[in-house]
């Protein structure tokens, strides 16, 4: 019986960790869906947003104001990215745009730390961080709260995409660039909008991960965890990002706990990729990705 509880504990813990990966993967998916760009800078954007938030907070501003200021900064960043980078790179192949986001990642990493410094900033948003016994099963309160935040965020994005003009426009672009253009939405605005939304998601991710790890350089590394999530879920699907996160989180924890002891442990880094590879051998477009139809 104890073994079963332990299994459930690992599974639930893994699923909850997975939602935290999803949170980062969401930002990737939004940008990829709307513009076909694999945004290498997403992890750095998470760091940048969190640094800005903590920086403003430490200047004495209340949390809400800090959030608003940070969001404004992320919108400005979105404008700048569109105006100074991608406007000049229309019709370039995906890989070139990808490279530009690598440049952006370096730029933001340097800029954020030049302005706000490198020390670890403790970020306490009052999220309880202790184990919680649900009957015989120990669950992290922090992860529960974080999962709730992810759920809220996804719901919020859903509402945004369905009810607002810009949201519908974004969906239009994602579905068909030509169609979106033909109903008169300037592509520039769409890009700024989607980078802003991704900036917002980065802020949320930054706050959650920042209060988990402290705000410091290392939170940009969560992006490495988001990549298999996105690959399993598909690059263009928001539900895919969530399900991909759950799969990665649960599988890596189960693997570490149950396979780890036999091979010396430490297989969390590669197991999700091996799993993703197996998934792709069966479904080359990811679980929720759009079917690639090849015509000749």
């Amino acid at each position: 019986m104890d073994e079963l509880y332990f299994f459930l504990e690992v599974l639930i813990g893994g699923l909850l960790s997975g939602t935290l990966y999803s949170l980062v993967a969401l930002g990737f998916v939004l940008i990829y869906k709307a513009s076909g760009i694999f945004n290498f800078a997403q992890g750095t954007m998470v760091l940048f947003a969190a640094l800005t938030f903590v920086g403003v907070l430490e200047l004495g501003a209340p949390a809400l104001l800090a959030a608003v200021v940070t969001l404004a900064v992320m919108v400005v960043l979105a404008f700048a990215v569109e105006r100074f980078i991608f406007r000049h790179m229309v019709n370039q192949p995906q890989v070139i745009l990808f490279m530009a986001t690598i440049g952006l990642a370096y730029f933001l990493e340097g800029l954020g730390q030049t302005i706000w410094g490198t020390e670890v900033h403790v970020l306490d948003l009052g999220i309880p961080d202790r184990g919680l016994w649900l009957g015989p099963i120990l669950v992290s309160q922090f992860d529960l709260v974080a999962a709730a935040v992810v759920a809220l965020l996804v719901a919020g994005l859903g509402v945004f995409f369905r009810t607002t003009t810009m949201g519908r426009a974004l969906r239009g672009v994602a579905d068909d660039h030509q169609a979106a253009l033909s109903i008169g939405i300037p592509l520039h605005h769409v890009w700024v909008a989607v980078w802003s939304v991704a900036g917002f998601v980065a802020l949320v991710a930054g706050l959650v991960w920042g209060s988990k790890l402290g705000v410091q350089f290392s939170i940009s590394l969560v992006a490495l965890k988001a990549i298999p999530v996105m690959i399993i879920g598909g690059f263009t699907s928001i539900p895919g990002a969530i399900v991909g996160g759950l799969i990665v989180g649960a599988s890596e924890k189960l693997a570490e706990v149950y396979l780890g002891p036999f091979v010396g442990g430490g297989l969390e880094n590669w197991f999700p990729y091996m799993l993703a590879m197996l998934v792709l051998m069966v479904r080359p477009e990811g679980i929720f990705g759009e079917k690639i139809i090849e015509r000749v």
């Binding site: 202790r130 988990k212 969390e268």
Partner: protein, 441 residues
């Protein structure tokens, strides 16, 4: 547009290398050059910055207070490595011929960085001080004449840790039957203590199991669930960077009490404990130096450097773990040069002379007290064969505010460690085709 880019590239190519070839060669022997390689960017900058600030502040203090080492002013140049071996090699090669007599001694500050240059040292005749990190088996000075893992190497430190646990349990004999979990960074650095733990487990009868944490260690749930299932009596934390605080938090979540966790010194700074909040209170870790500012030497830094408005970093950092470690690193470096000057005269020294200085450095309690560092560091005595210098290990406990002393200066299991070091160094010598020098003089 293309033209702009080409001009920019050309300008960079032309302007870039200029300082790299311009060298100061005044040659009157009045300035001792010390190269500094630091990492102020990247994932480990959190610790690298206060460390380097401490290092530089100490050098500034020596210049301000004493006018240099034995009257020879210290000059230095800093080079950013970003904790990358290839950047460090570049820094090493760039700085090794600087100054009047070339680079005197390098402090790579990082185990992977140490590996990157070990091969080059004998040819360049430049010594390396790796204070509490680097290759453990380099303690065998016969095989590694130019490498000095001073104070205490990883294996000695780890044996002291077991002795500390024994002291909590009421004696070495009570170790029998204990279960110890070794939670380590999954890298060459992290795995390095596994062999010595195995030897000790054999000797004292405790049981040890290893729990690797994959880099960077931002999510360790599975590891700690495994640890909890193992139900260890003690946990050894051999972490690095962001892994430490996550480990402490995760331990608290699964109910491993902080006072049963004993960390290595790279898990032993405010940067590791403060972000973990309450979860870190009671956590103990090993160091080879004391923390705080209640030492004459630290007060001198405040007076001569920070009060003079010349502090490298923020004043609040003085006395914290990484800062003090930087100060100690600089202190040992300066004392080694002082020893060498005793032999070769008070003038700028080159690498080979400083190597002699390190190898013949002998700092007794009295010497240390005279330097204003009583109880800040243990005595050191380096020799041709023993490049560790016979340091001791101190344990400190996090109170939630600061680190308090939790033990005396503890002796490691030297006999056990020395045998392993010689064995490992012999393997290195065989693979590299090195004939170890003999140390009878």
């Amino acid at each position: 547009m293309h033209k702009c880019l080409l001009v920019a590239l050309a300008a960079l190519v032309l302007a870039g290398p200029v300082p790299a070839v311009a060298q100061d060669q005044s040659g009157d022997g009045a300035e001792q050059f010390i190269p500094i390689t630091s990492y102020r960017t990247g994932p480990y900058a959190v610790g690298g910055i206060p460390f380097m600030d401490g290092f530089v502040d100490y050098l500034k203090m020596i210049n301000a207070r004493d006018g240099g080492i034995e009257g020879v002013r210290i000059v230095w140049e800093e080079c950013e490595t970003a904790y990358k071996p290839d950047r460090f090699v570049e820094c090493y090669e760039r700085l090794k011929n600087r100054g009047e007599r070339g680079a005197s001694v390098f402090n790579p500050l990082g185990t992977p960085l140490t590996y990157a240059v070990i091969d080059r040292l004998p040819a360049d005749k430049i010594p390396l001080i790796t204070l509490g990190y680097g290759r453990t088996d380099a303690s065998d000075g016969r095989v590694f004449p130019y490498v000095f893992p001073l104070m205490v190497n990883y294996w000695s430190q780890n044996t002291a840790k077991i002795r500390y646990i024994a002291s909590l349990e009421g004696g070495l004999e009570n170790l029998d039957g204990l279960k110890i979990a070794n939670v380590h960074h999954d890298s060459a650095y992290g795995k390095e203590t596994a062999p010595v733990l195995a030897k000790q487990a054999e000797r004292y009868g405790f049981e040890v199991r290893h729990f690797p944490v994959v880099h960077p260690g931002i999510d360790q749930k599975a590891v700690w669930l495994n640890v909890r299932r193992y139900r260890p009596d003690y946990v050894i934390l051999r972490g690095w960077g962001v892994m430490n605080q996550t480990a402490l938090k995760e331990a608290a979540r699964v109910g491993v009490p902080a006072d049963k966790i004993v960390g290595v010194w790279w898990s032993c700074a405010e940067q590791d404990t403060v972000p973990a909040g309450d979860a870190a209170v009671g956590y103990t870790c090993s160091t080879f130096h004391n923390n705080g500012t209640d030492f004459q030497l630290m007060q001198d830094i405040i007076t001569h450097v920070h009060d003079a408005g010349d502090g490298t970093g923020p004043r609040e950092a003085v006395g914290t773990g990484f800062y003090n470690r930087g100060v100690i690193n600089a202190f040992v470096t300066v004392e080694a040069i002082r020893t060498a000057m005793g032999e070769f005269g008070a003038r700028a020294l080159g690498g080979e002379e400083v190597r002699w200085g390190i190898e013949n450095m002998e700092l007794t309690d009295a010497d240390i007290a005279a330097a204003g560092a009583a109880n800040l560091v243990p005595p050191i005595s380096v020799s041709c064969a023993d490049h560790e210098g016979g340091g001791k290990v101190l344990f400190v406990r996090w109170t939630g505010e600061s680190f308090e002393t939790a033990s005396d200066w503890l002796e490691p299991d030297r006999d056990l460690v020395r045998g392993m070091i010689e064995e490992s160094a012999a393997q290195y010598a065989a693979e590299k085709g090195i004939t170890p020098r003999t140390c009878e003089s």
